[in-house]
Subunit: 326 residues, 2 copies
């Protein structure tokens, strides 16, 4: 039996399960969580969908998102734990890995190469553009109907994790799955509206505030912008409005590494890292306790904004120069 078949069989037989994903949830994390939760509920299982952080407003259209609760509100840990899109159990929030002792089987479905294979059953495939591709492969092997609601969740995951089908991770298989999900009834009008056509005015004002901070270094091969706490406050933008901003420095001609630095409360800075061709930003993020993929990664660093910019840009510069000799 392949990993897909084992997981499908285990899920098909489940009476109860928790589906859990990582903090600061994105489209793939939420789409994969909800697609699985909806499929398991369709089988009559008692399912709890868990995320430590609230669902960002742009994903409030996802079917079932209102059922997602934080770990603290789960009174009894079910015997089956399904983790999606998470490199390790700590990604679900501090202390979450203690659930390991309380549950029975742990299923681990992920597309991050840095996944620690922490599950009893592991489906980890770095070639998948999104964890949602793996979830679809599992659902196909289960006696469930892929409903329009499930298709909506999975399409959202594909569209967001590929940057609207633009990134290197997007393959012919991804495009073909997107086509199938359209035909299965994915609610494209709602997806379009929420993902791309409902940008909060405050988010555009935040972009207008961030663009003047654009700086290039290392012969224009590293570019970054910063979002200070005061800029966030002045524009009335929410933290998630800053999410896409890293694409601006990244998209500039000649830039290999694009960075966004966002000031967090409590003297921390959230760093988003993106690269185009040669630099492994996962390695840069890992130096600061973060992680992700070769072309997209993140980390949170203690220190004031300027100091963190200096440190991370220097580290990126080293990776850039290393890359020359590879």
């Amino acid at each position: 039996m392949t990993a897909i078949e084992s997981i499908a069989a285990t899920l098909a037989a489940a009476r109860e399960a928790a589906v859990v994903s990582h903090i600061i949830p994105d489209g793939d994390c939420l789409g994969s969580t909800l697609a699985l939760a909806l499929a398991l509920r369709q089988r009559g299982a008692k399912v709890v969908a868990v995320n430590a952080d609230p669902v960002p407003e742009m994903f409030h259209f996802l079917p079932g998102q209102e059922t997602i609760i934080p770990p603290a509100r789960v009174t009894e840990v079910p015997g089956l734990l399904v983790m999606v899109d998470s490199t390790d159990m700590e990604r679900a929030g501090e202390g979450f890995s203690r659930w390991r002792q309380k549950t029975g089987t742990v299923i681990n479905i992920d597309h991050h190469v840095s996944n620690t294979r922490f599950g009893d059953l592991n489906l980890v495939d770095g070639r998948a553009a999104a964890t949602a591709e793996l979830v679809f492969a599992i659902l196909e092997k289960m006696p469930v109907t892929i409903t329009p609601d499930i298709a909506t969740c999975l399409y959202t995951a594909l569209a967001t994790d590929t940057g609207s089908f633009q990134y290197e991770n997007c393959t012919a298989a991804t495009m073909r799955l997107a086509a199938r999900l359209m035909e299965l009834g994915a609610d494209l009008p709602r997806i379009r509206e929420y993902l791309w056509e409902r940008k909060p005015l405050a988010g555009i004002r935040l972009l207008a505030a961030a663009l003047p901070t654009l700086t290039l270094a290392y012969d224009g091969r590293i570019a970054w912008m910063t979002v200070s706490g005061t800029a966030l406050e002045a524009t009335g933008a929410r933290p998630e409005d800053a999410e896409g901003l890293v694409n601006y420095p990244r998209s500039i001609a000649g830039v290999e590494v694009g960075l966004l630095f966002r000031e967090l409360p409590g003297g921390q800075v959230k760093v988003s890292l993106r690269s185009k061709k040669s630099v492994d930003v996962n390695a840069i993020a890992a130096r600061f306790g973060g992680g992700g993929h070769r072309r997209a990664a993140g980390c949170t660093v203690k220190g004031d904004l300027d100091a963190v910019v200096a440190m991370v840009v220097a580290a990126a510069g080293e990776e850039l120069n290393d890359g020359r000799f590879h």
Copy 2:
């Protein structure tokens, strides 16, 4: 015989042809032109690819783009004229329709609903996301190989005319064709690089200059930005760098019609119009002598920037209010 088959047969038999498209060329116009030109050359035909305007730098990776010449440089009009992505022959540039008398057969391949069916053979289908979808359907019926170069041209057309697979026009058929073109060898690394990862720094500076002009009216349902001639000059941006800016006003929550006004030399203003759900911007553009699609259209209006803004916004407001009662 269907229109596709008639056109495929005519093209397969052609010894010489001109492939022509509209001024201010975009990805669909260029991708469709070049895919056809490459296929006809493969058949041994003598082909001239024609465009009145230079190919924008972001499309300089398209195979064969260096062969595109303006109509004035065509010394002898061939007996077969293939117009792509053009609602009428005047779209190819002022005076171009005089070619009508000099050529033999005119083939018209287009996905604009406002197409005037000016050809001897017409393949006009408003359901196609891009003219490139129709070109692919024709090539499939011809004794030609869809080479990686042709696939690159067609993929570029799909990706640009759907706003990276986001717009309403993007269907399951579009996604599936994109998958096929990937498998046929479309050069995705180059496509990604040129379309999305080589934005000129001056273009980002132009965005920074345009964002502060963002204005909302009609209860936030119409939003626009302006690009003055001086802003263009001050940032060193080229006119084509302004092309995508209309998406910023359009993408804001609650906005139905997004507009971009760009000052042209000689007291004219180029207006780009986009809508989300209810307003037919083709109708607004038509009031000012322009055209396009229901959700994306354009026109060029004589007058100074402020006057044109006032006129077009008022017209958009009327369409908006009309829409309420439909």
